[in-house]
């Protein structure tokens, strides 16, 4: 069957998460961006909504099953409130979901209950590298098997909450194939920059450069154990999450611009009554819906284990990134000069909008 309506449970989740997004995340968005930090209480409250917890089976301390579709719905909703807040709340996903999807039984036992039963804690992952042609499937960070250990060397960038991370999954090329490795906090050779990255946008989310100088981890720390795992599954989940977040930010910008256009007058009419503005809005609305459906389909294919799920996730992420740039740019355009001023949120969304071209790795569903 084809069907385009979230189920009852998902609707309830959307509603709860949506309330948090609007009542908690959105009001502090500007202040957080300018002050370059998020109130810890805010993140804690988001964590208590239990989005991740609901994706982890009871056997590992959670209360549900992971569904990429549900994750995408929640991800859009959170990002609609504020992207930095959304990504902060979802940061532990970056550690827990790869373990859930690809981890060995021991890894699941060791980490999942600890994470989902506890308070929000900085468990994270390090994927992105600081290179213009960064490619998750051709990492410059390497892992080499030496006796009973893997030795990891390289540099990572944009690692969310790396500073105080309890543990992180570091992705590295093992004989040319991307694999994840669980690296604990105190591993010798692991250095996290003191200063957070300074970015064009998303400044409220603390992300860091991380250096690995011959960091040694035991064989059991390779994600999935000795035989490793299929990184494509993780990457596809990151891509769907990226697309979902792009949808949230785009919808925020679209609705703001729409409402503004119905208020603002020029030449004796509301600017929304001019086709030049109205057509932009029509196209923004259409593209958001188009990319939402593509994202849902990719997520559904992941859940259903379809052969082309990875390609679909790739297309969704790329399409949503382009859409987000188009929509957020036009939102600024619709507000005119006022859109350029930091009193309105649209310029912030535009800075975030460009980021989706490289944010893959910041979220997972």
């Amino acid at each position: 069957m084809y069907s385009f309506e979230p189920n009852e449970e998902q609707k309830m989740l959307i509603e709860t998460v949506g309330k948090y997004a609007i009542n908690d995340l959105r009001p502090v968005a500007r202040e957080a961006e300018e002050g370059k930090s998020l109130p810890p209480k805010l993140v804690a409250k988001g964590w208590e909504l239990g989005v991740l917890q609901a994706s982890i089976p009871e056997a590992y301390g959670g209360f549900g099953d992971r569904s990429a579709v549900t994750g995408a719905l929640a991800g859009e909703e959170l990002a609609f409130g504020n992207l930095a807040g959304a990504l902060a709340v979802e940061t532990p996903n970056l550690f827990a979901l790869p373990i859930l999807l690809c981890g060995s039984e021991e890894q699941k036992q060791e980490y999942l209950p600890k994470i989902v039963e506890g308070n929000w804690a900085p468990y994270t992952s390090a994927l992105i590298e600081f290179a213009f042609d960064f490619d998750p499937n051709a990492l410059k960070t390497t892992a080499t098997l030496k006796g009973e250990e893997y030795v990891i060397t390289g540099e990572k960038a944009y690692v969310p909450f790396a500073k105080n991370a309890e543990a992180m999954i570091v992705y590295a090329a093992l004989d040319g194939v991307t694999q994840g490795f669980i690296v604990p906090k105190a591993a010798p050779g692991l250095t996290v920059e003191n200063e957070a990255e300074k970015m064009m946008g998303l400044n409220a989310l603390p992300t860091f450069r991380v250096r690995l100088d011959g960091v040694k981890v035991p064989l059991a720390n390779r994600l999935g154990g000795a035989s490793g795992h299929d990184f494509e599954r993780i990457l596809a989940s990151m891509r769907v999450a990226n697309a979902a977040a792009a949808l949230g930010v785009s919808r925020a910008a679209f609705e703001y611009a729409r409402d503004y256009a119905k208020e603002r007058e020029a030449f004796g009419v509301k600017i929304a009554q001019k086709q030049a503005i109205a057509f932009m809005l029509a196209e923004m609305g259409t593209e958001i819906e188009a990319m939402r459906l593509l994202t849902w389909e990719a997520a559904w294919k992941l859940d259903a284990g379809k052969d082309d799920a990875f390609i679909e996730a790739y297309l969704a992420s790329m399409g949503a990134a382009d859409m987000a740039m188009m929509v957020t740019d036009r939102a600024v355009q619709i507000l005119g000069g006022h859109g350029y001023i930091r009193e309105h949120p649209v310029e912030m969304w535009m800075r975030e909008g460009r980021g989706f071209a490289m944010f893959t790795g910041f979220a997972m569903v």
Binding site: V69, K262, A278, F279, L281, T286, L293, E297, A304, L315
Partner: protein, 423 residues
Amino acid sequence: MTIEFETPKPIAQTQLVLKTVAEEMMRSKSRYFDEHEHEIPWDYMEFMHTAMKAMGAGSLAPKKEKGNGHDGGEQKEKRPSIAYQSLASQIEMLAWGDVGFYLITPGGGLGAAAVAAAGNDAQKEKYLARFSGEKPTLAAMCMTEAGAGSDTSSIRTRAMLDEKTNEWILNGEKIFVTAGDKSFTEYEKLGKGFLVVWASIDPSAGRAGMRSFVVEAGTPGVKIAKLEHKLGIRASDTASISLVDARVPFDAILGSPTVEKTTTGFKGAMATFDATRPLVAASGLGVARAALEFLKEKLAENGVQIRYGLPRQKLSNIEREVIDCEIMLKSAWLLTLKAVWMADNKKSNALESSMSKVKAGDVGTKITQKAVEILGPLGYNREFLLEKWFRDAKITDIYEGTGQINRLVVARQILGYSGAELR
């Protein structure tokens, strides 16, 4: 409800059959009928009629008992219908074969859709049953006039009631009627078709006075005045039709015979468009898919592989273009599917219908244009059908509301504006 994208089995099965039809019965003849405009592909029409009857499809016209969200009748079905979803999928596949042929597929097309959307039960019975008859049968929709295209409310065709005979008398000139000739002219090989003609029963009432009338094939006073020569979709006849004191029975009117203050007449037209726009979108996406598949095939023959998964920065220009086309095509199809799914589930879909049409109009033209561009000398050559698909696809952005008109519809929905507030 849930979110799900599994193609229902009956749809998947029909698609397999139609794919063969598209290849064997359509594409093999595409070039000939492109170069012999106004000749009629009887083989195709007769084959389709027989084949659809055999498949139990009967016709491409929406089955009246399945409803479309506008016929108001009480329905007691347990499972939501997939009639519109099937129809959109079939149309996509037929258009993948040849849009021109698809447009003359027996089954009633826009004419039947208009009856389904605005007619009462008796009218649906009377006018729609014929499509599962002995011979292939067509119907057409006549809205456009020389002076009234996008602005449908300014049509000049008049309908006056002759109270003595209780007949409507129609006068006016319609243009650009798809399948107008095959629906009206009484060919021996065809069953008796009809035209749905839009006219005003009260010009002073504006939109509220607009009504549609079923005009049976061969009705005296009605003439096919001209067949157009076109950029593409040449297998499909596009007729000018003149009506001079043409008489139709009283109950040929779809909707109320009296004028109320509300704009109910025009709403009939709009309801028809809500139902048919995603179907037109589907046809545009069928051609687009044909072009994109051909492009990828030629690239593969020439050793160009599309490396999915690479970051943008590492892709070649051709790979980027192809990937962008795929994103456009897939997402446009999903919009279309959602619009028809809403129709099947009796949800009002004016917004989604027009969104799908906006997107398909864009995507259909862009993908076919890109494919011709990327394939260079191959793309431009008439040895292949690609250049024809480029010409065929353009119509998607023009008929059934231009891209601009559909943007207006979407914008009004988004903004909560009336036609007067945003024109």
